[in-house]
Symmetry: C2
Subunit: 158 residues, 2 copies
């Protein structure tokens, strides 16, 4: 509903979820911090100057946006968001967390697949200034954060 | 977990959810667009210049943040977020929607109760400039939006 993906859209998140290594990014799978039957989460390709190690969550099945996503995914997404937020607190020692989800081009969405953005927050992080002007994160940086966060998530118990 | 509410915190959202009219705001209940056994949603007291009629969703039971909230609320929150986003599309004729959820003071949270912010989005709405510098919305404006949205939500069917 209210879809914007072009015909034959080459969804970049589909490659990550499917475990396909693209030639231009041979380290894709090393960025994944969590995967189960329904959801996959990884260290985002873009970040903010003071909120590094931010994570993307998507569903393993392709839905374009909030209007399309079956709401029954909600509890799984909520549980994983909470787990990752607690991971940020524990591993990054951050001061807070912010969750953002955009829909449609004029709603700030730029990949045509429903996804949730999770940011670790810090005192004086100037989030208001940078939140919508992301910068690229290097593969090395992303893998470093992924390793740390993955260790925590793998050992997570309620 | 990671709580910041002062002792005996007079939670402003508790009054809305409980249906208590405060003397300084006698029209509180007219702002509610949806209420069921678990969740309440209303037109927010603060808005952005080009994203008016924005909505807050909270749980009827008080939880401070994402870390505290039982994840089982996820599907209910997802379903209501979707319903309201579709309401924005239908009633406001907006071009997109953005969902934001903050945790802890340094994470941008300012009311110590878990809540989700839903914004209608428009082409060239300068959301990046205004998103974290909200302005007050008048009661008249809020009631006007509440009436329109409520009519849609009451007649909503999958």
């Amino acid at each position: 509903m209210y879809n914007h993906a072009p015909k034959n859209y080459d969804c970049p998140f589909c490659a990550i979820v499917a475990g396909i290594e693209k030639p231009e990014n041979p380290t894709l799978q090393a960025l994944i911090v969590y995967r189960d039957r329904y959801l996959t989460a990884w260290i985002a390709s873009t970040t903010l100057p003071h909120n590094r190690g931010n994570v993307v969550i998507t569903t393993n099945k392709h839905y374009e946006n909030l209007y399309d996503l079956p709401s029954s995914y909600g509890t799984k997404i909520q549980a994983l968001s909470r787990k990752i937020a607690l991971g940020f607190k524990h591993v990054y020692k951050c001061d807070g967390t912010t969750v953002i989800q955009h829909n449609e081009p004029d709603g700030g969405q730029s990949v045509w697949r429903y996804h949730v953005l999770l940011f670790p927050r810090y005192k004086d992080d100037n989030f208001d200034k940078y939140a919508f002007s992301p910068i690229n994160a290097s593969s090395e940086e992303r893998i470093r954060y992924a390793r740390k966060l993955k260790d925590y998530l793998n050992s997570f118990h309620e």
